[in-house]
Symmetry: C4
Amino acid sequence: MTAETGIAKGRVETLIDGIYAIAMTLLVLTIDVPTVPQGVSPDAALPALILGLDDQVLACAIAFLVLTGFWRAHEEIFQHLSRINRTFLNLNLIVLLCTVFVPFTTSLVADYSSSRLAVDLFALNLGVIGLLFAGQWIYISRSPELLHAPLQDGVLRRGLLRSLSTTIAAVAAMLIAVTMPISANWGYLLIPLILAVSNRLPYR
Amino acid sequence: MTAETGIAKGRVETLIDGIYAIAMTLLVLTIDVPTVPQGVSPDAALPALILGLDDQVLACAIAFLVLTGFWRAHEEIFQHLSRINRTFLNLNLIVLLCTVFVPFTTSLVADYSSSRLAVDLFALNLGVIGLLFAGQWIYISRSPELLHAPLQDGVLRRGLLRSLSTTIAAVAAMLIAVTMPISANWGYLLIPLILAVSNRLPYR
Amino acid sequence: MTAETGIAKGRVETLIDGIYAIAMTLLVLTIDVPTVPQGVSPDAALPALILGLDDQVLACAIAFLVLTGFWRAHEEIFQHLSRINRTFLNLNLIVLLCTVFVPFTTSLVADYSSSRLAVDLFALNLGVIGLLFAGQWIYISRSPELLHAPLQDGVLRRGLLRSLSTTIAAVAAMLIAVTMPISANWGYLLIPLILAVSNRLPYR
Amino acid sequence: MTAETGIAKGRVETLIDGIYAIAMTLLVLTIDVPTVPQGVSPDAALPALILGLDDQVLACAIAFLVLTGFWRAHEEIFQHLSRINRTFLNLNLIVLLCTVFVPFTTSLVADYSSSRLAVDLFALNLGVIGLLFAGQWIYISRSPELLHAPLQDGVLRRGLLRSLSTTIAAVAAMLIAVTMPISANWGYLLIPLILAVSNRLPYR
């Protein structure tokens, strides 16, 4: 006979909150403090150098906002759970593994915003996390033994739509990148749009 | 009919505490460990190199103390809340987005303390966060459904004054920077002054 | 007469969760954002540069997954404890000291994946942590005064096997490294294998 | 009439635990991953380069262990408190400000272990934190309104001795540094010695 130790839900939450807090704060290390060449007055050189950081600041802000969305997804899913099993924990750890790569892919797209490859890797990273969250919603909808109450159809539909909003936006970014890599990140504007729609969906 | 999942207040608090803890600790990465040129004795070179870090240490200490003030503001506001809604969460996430930029603008002003632009960006970053906290106080004062008890006028007034103390000090720093950028950060001495006044205000 | 202040279990958990969250997120700083030489088009140079990161990404993913395993070990052990004493806290702090070195040894093996020394130091770091966890299981099995209920033999055996899975895999990696350092990290595939076995062991 | 909002003890604890977790994990960034010169085989060059990291590893380990001691001091003090007031919070924030500097002074002493100035700054940083903890013990012993129960003399004496152990060791390190800066950090061996004595002191 085999059994399984229950997993302390509270500690998984602390780990997740910690990793998101750190990943979100590390993003800013993506932005290089500009180096004014020796012999040049900082006041003369800095304005142009700082304006040149626009791609980095934009990438950082997008990644931050997408990460807040993912954190919200964790938080929403955990609200429905009364307990956690090993499969669900492992799903979460894979999400977290993908999440700690976000500062790296953000850094890549921040430094090489005109490269289609950099745009695609950033989009792939975010898009896969979106898919994994959709997978979590489906998994818990089929695991009533983990839930406070059976998941209503509306809640599942809304959770899936919100999770996939990032994946859809990532695909859009990759499509834009085919012709205009530098403008690809505007594709992420689809996320707030889809979220706004999801907030109007009936709950049941 | 649409509804809204409640948001776990405790997890938002953990995320905020985590981001502040990290941002406050990352500040010190602002300070470069000096590099003694090869062939020079460290004991001969270090004293001057370390004294040359004064701007960086000062910027780091100011940013740390201002961040503790912001953290206190979060903590005070959350004490009045019995629950959180989506709008309030979004307000907080915007504050956090601005907060993760603080190590960057601190680094900028630490490296270019004589540049008016660097001083202004640092002040702008802090000043905007102050405004956003004032916005949070106003928002919760008008959202009694989120509160344990209706907000007393004195509490609101004190919260606003404390939030805006940073904005006022940031404006002062920008004004000083017009003529003496290198001395601008003394403007932040206004914050403890205003806080001391706020502690004497009647509570109702 | 001497006495001992009880130690707040919840705070030790927060410290552990925090350190693991940070160490897991810092791993990604191991991966250098590639620098495209000036005058070369990013789109031309990036693909090869990014493919060249395979060792770093692999090392980062392995270290992440091993750290999640260690975090799980902490979490499992703490579930059995009703209180903590000084000896147990000290054991944990030594584990944490070894844990904060993981991003460093990961970085080493990521940069020098063909060096036997780098492989050995990474394996030593992980293997020692595995041993220390085995030590924790033995310590708590002999300290019934710390436990909710006496540890069942099956739980102890399973805990030991899971802790030592990393040590066994680390020894395997070191053995592979004698002839093929670059392939040594495949030794860590033993961990999921041993964990899968441990999940089939009888619980009592 | 003025009043004071109570301060959420739990959130101060989360902030402290977070900052300690981060500072303890950042220490390892103190250790530079060695760079093998181009054209040299890593296996030939790495052993000497890694052995050359001994000062950095030692400084990192000492700082880690001292920080665990400080974290323990926070944890012990908070166990006696039923609530927190503004003065006590401010004392803690000053301790935290000094704490976030520890990775910097550690980095300094790690890179320049033979420099008396570096040794002194590291010792000063740690020694001042020890003094501030002694100050916290005295403050709470005189603020019975914050405590679950009046502080026993033995508890206060033990708390003071443990807090000052770091200060005493730091002074010892500075004295050793007068003649042998490179051996100064052995002075910190006084800390476990003093702690061992403190554990034998009568509790009342």
